[in-house]
């Protein structure tokens, strides 16, 4: 009986704390967004100052976990807004029928045209292999040069990580039917595959691998936050695959007006100006003051690759099988 008493006491205390304020807007997002070092705290303070409401973040791992959570909850989610899906997931998210149209046509600063009726982008970035210029002054300039090198790279597993899945799509978008051959070539270069981004990046920082799959903006963290200019992203001639991170309003929300207001806020300067130095991605709109100092040192890929959501969804299983066959040898 002790179990029940404790659980009830805890549940009561939490429920009491939660019901004290209202109205409440619940945003379901991935955990690094709301961490004390992510955009969450600044976003919460700024929105609460203008909306007279309580903004509560619920978290679930990463983008793919958000979608799994929604499917698990079905229509019963308490969340009003989902923030943190990306372009590899919007097709499946649309198919759930859980999202309501945003009804907006904002002026965006993306390298691609955006016309999704359900999801609005809040930031974006290019996937890239990051290296340390002191250890690797002449990085490869394409997948084929990487294959021909004797370098070691760490990547993430596409089954459990969004950058990992992004790389699958990158190779597919760049090489089409040759993707399997490229993966067989890359296999000996891949030191290991980690479940998530942080494990891979950690291995790279500790010197285990020469390069790590990350974003073109990752070196900006080291430069701006640590004053370390030794990290750089290698520009590949095939072009770089895009990740566009998006948010959508849940149709079952009991705060639709507040949710719509949050979507407007999301594309305002208060939200967007926080993005570059907390999420370390590019903002979705042009900032009046420009990007923070240091971002001008980053590579600007000439070619942006992005498969349309339906194509990406259709290719996913084939691409995963190619990847698995090549790397499991």
């Amino acid at each position: 009986m002790r179990t029940l008493t404790f659980a009830a006491a805890f549940a009561g205390a939490f429920a009491l704390a939660a019901s004290a304020q209202s109205p409440q807007l619940r945003v379901l997002t991935y955990d690094s967004f709301v961490s004390d070092w992510g955009p969450g705290p600044a976003v919460e303070a700024a929105f609460e100052a203008e909306c007279g409401c309580d903004l509560v973040f619920e978290t679930a791992g990463d983008g793919a976990a958000l979608l799994a959570r929604l499917l698990l909850e079905g229509g019963r989610s308490e969340a009003d807004v989902v923030l943190g899906l990306d372009t590899s997931l919007t097709y499946a998210a649309t198919a759930t029928g859980l999202f309501a149209p945003h009804g907006r046509a904002p002026e965006l600063a993306l390298p691609v045209v955006w016309d999704d009726p359900l999801f609005l982008p809040y930031d974006w970035g290019w996937f890239a292999f990051v290296h340390d210029t002191t250890r690797l002054p002449e990085p490869p300039r394409s997948f084929e040069e990487l294959i021909a090198s004797d370098l070691s790279v760490v990547i993430q597993d596409p089954r459990s990580s969004t950058p990992g899945l992004g790389l699958l799509m990158w190779v597919r978008a760049a090489y089409g039917e040759r993707a399997g051959e490229i993966w067989r070539g890359l296999a000996p270069r891949i030191l290991t595959v980690t479940p998530g981004w942080s494990e891979a990046y950690g291995l790279f920082l500790e010197g285990e691998a020469d390069m790590v799959l990350s974003y073109t903006t990752s070196p900006a963290y080291h430069l701006i936050a640590e004053g370390d200019a030794t990290k750089a992203a290698a520009e590949f001639t095939e072009g770089h695959y895009l990740q566009v991170e998006v948010a959508g309003i849940l149709a079952a929300s009991d705060q639709p007006a507040l949710a719509a207001r949050f979507m407007d806020f999301m594309l305002s300067a208060d939200f967007q100006s926080v993005i570059p130095t907390t999420n370390w991605m590019y903002p979705a709109v042009t900032l009046d003051g420009g990007l923070p100092e240091g971002f001008e040192t980053l590579i600007q890929p000439a070619t942006s690759l992005l498969l349309p959501p339906d194509q990406a969804a259709a290719l996913r299983d084939v691409a995963l099988a190619e990847w698995r066959d090549a790397l499991a040898r």
């Binding site: 179990t3 961490s35 793919a64 459990s160 499991a328």
Partner: protein, 516 residues
């Protein structure tokens, strides 16, 4: 050897604990199945995952226990300065969060680790850790401490009189092995093998990261994929059932090979001094080797994080407070559950198997299943900390029972008839006979439970919302925010808290002499 009827309270409490455990395991799996709409299906790749899972778990269990035998024997019969501290510290890898342990391993065995730097300095080729060898090495690093502890308890239960008799009869090493040590090991080793096998069965982050790629896909990773990539709950449930079947098969084998303990009564007297000479050198080598293997990676984690400990940001300290709270609650639950099942195990065989079964379930399935079960009634985020504490307690229960049940059965077999003939009340028997023989394993069990709960990054990720982060979650968040220095500092804090909780509880409950 039932010498009086089981008190009603015990039967009731044990039945309640059993119901909670069954609900956690089968209920979670059932909930996942219930939410599944069709789907399912076993893929060709799943056979590969099954094979790899089985192979790495068997190899890890065999290697961990084989290496633990000489280490435990040496530690059991030698007395030297710093022995207690060494035993405590050598237990640390088991209670470390996996992520921290892997970092420590790589600092020694990685591409730029101490070992390879040393080899390179000698002009020798570097060794690669990534592959099956890395997975097994990491699992041995994580589980050798547990195996040593379990075997040490076996040695501690050999009555000193047997050793004195052996010495008086002039037994050599071989005779001592045959008549004293081998029979004891035959009782203890299968259980230790099974525990390590079951822990490695649900491994996925270590297996994938050190395994070097998708060839190192375990069933747990396949379950992860079914949930997150395919959102095929039917398939996730099928894979989870396959994983649980492997675990249950291991438990069946265990039940089949475990011998019933023969009563060996002792009077808790002092053991004779151990053999010197060659045996002494061999023991020294075993202790030294294990200490280097286990402590150098820990030292590397410490050296990396210590400079950043004092400068850790406030949210990390707050999270540490929450972790202590969860661990405290978890230990209270664990104590209640373990006490009920241990007392019930004096008359029945089922509590042991039931407790062990908690290890066969996939953490991912438990988390998802509980989420599905709780969701219609109360918003899951409100239950994050209590549910985490409960699941942590259930996860630590197998280790607690492994330590407690044999000791309790032994004490009962040795002294129950004596107590009965003296007309002792059940309370007096418990206080004077059982407790002095159970407090050491109880201290170990609860210390272990606290430490495991402190480092757990399991079900809480399914229930968390802002403001409920635990220390392992904050450490992960720091890594996700590029802050590897702060993450290293947080790892040291986590290590200190886990080890502190372990040592503190073991001393508090086990008494000042607690060491095994």
């Amino acid at each position: 050897m039932p010498w009086r009827v089981e008190p009603r309270g015990v039967s009731l409490a044990a039945a309640l604990v059993a119901a909670v455990l069954v609900a956690l395991n089968l209920g979670a799996l059932g909930a996942v199945l219930w939410r599944a709409e069709g789907g399912g299906g076993w893929h060709a790749a799943d056979w590969a995952a099954l094979r790899f899972t089985l192979m790495q778990a068997v190899l890890s269990a065999l290697a961990s226990v084989a290496l633990a035998v000489p280490v435990a024997r040496a530690l059991a019969r030698r007395r030297f300065t710093g022995r207690r501290v060494l035993i405590v510290l050598m237990g640390a890898p088991f209670i470390l969060p996996v992520l921290v342990a892997v970092a420590g391993m790589l600092a020694v065995f990685g591409r730029n680790g101490l070992l390879n730097e040393g080899l390179a300095a000698l002009g020798l080729p570097r060794l690669g850790i990534y592959g099956l060898q890395g997975v097994v090495l990491a699992h041995v690093f994580l589980n050798l401490p547990l195996a040593v502890r379990l075997l040490l308890q076996g040695w501690a239960r050999i009555p000193a009189e047997h050793q004195r008799l052996a010495a008086a009869l002039g037994f050599g090493a071989r005779a001592r092995w045959r008549h004293i040590e081998a029979p004891m090991l035959a009782q203890v080793v299968p259980g230790a093998l099974a525990v390590v096998f079951l822990i490695c069965l649900t491994s996925f982050a270590v297996a994938l990261t050190l395994g070097g790629g998708p060839a190192a896909t375990t069933l747990e990773l396949a379950i992860w994929q079914a949930f997150r990539f395919d959102f095929d709950l039917g398939r996730a449930a099928l894979l989870a059932a396959a994983q649980a079947t492997l675990g249950l098969a291991a438990l069946l084998v265990l039940a089949f090979v475990t011998r019933i303990e023969v009563a060996q009564t002792g009077l808790d007297r002092v053991a004779p001094p151990p053999a010197g000479g060659l045996a002494r050198g061999f023991d020294a080598l075993a202790i030294l080797g294990a200490a280097v293997f286990l402590l150098v990676p820990l030292g590397m984690v410490l050296a990396r994080g210590l400079p950043h400990l004092a400068g850790l940001p406030v949210p990390v300290w707050l999270a540490a407070g929450r972790s202590v709270l969860v661990a405290t609650l978890s230990v209270v639950l664990l104590a209640a559950m373990a006490a009920a099942l241990t007392l019930a195990a004096l008359r029945h065989r089922w509590p042991e198997a039931l407790g062990m079964a908690a290890l066969t379930a996939s953490p991912l399935v438990i988390g998802t299943g509980l989420f599905v079960l709780v969701n219609p009634w109360v918003a899951p985020v409100h239950l994050a900390l209590p549910i985490t504490a409960l699941v942590n307690a259930a996860m630590a229960l197998p280790f607690a029972l492994r330590a407690l049940i044999p000791a309790a059965r032994r004490a009962e077999a040795d002294y129950a008839r004596l107590s009965a003939s003296l007309g002792l009340s059940a309370w007096a028997h418990g206080r004077l006979v059982l407790w002095p023989r159970l407090r050491r394993p109880a201290g170990l069990a609860l210390g272990l439970g606290a430490a495991l709960s402190m480092g757990d990054l399991g079900v809480i990720v399914f229930f968390a919302q802002t403001g409920a982060e635990t220390l392992p979650m904050q450490m992960h968040a720091l890594m996700g925010a590029f802050r590897s220095d702060d993450a290293a500092g947080a790892a040291v804090l986590l290590m200190a808290l886990a080890l502190g909780a372990f040592v503190g509880l073991e001393r508090l409950i086990g008494g000042r002499d607690a060491e095994t």
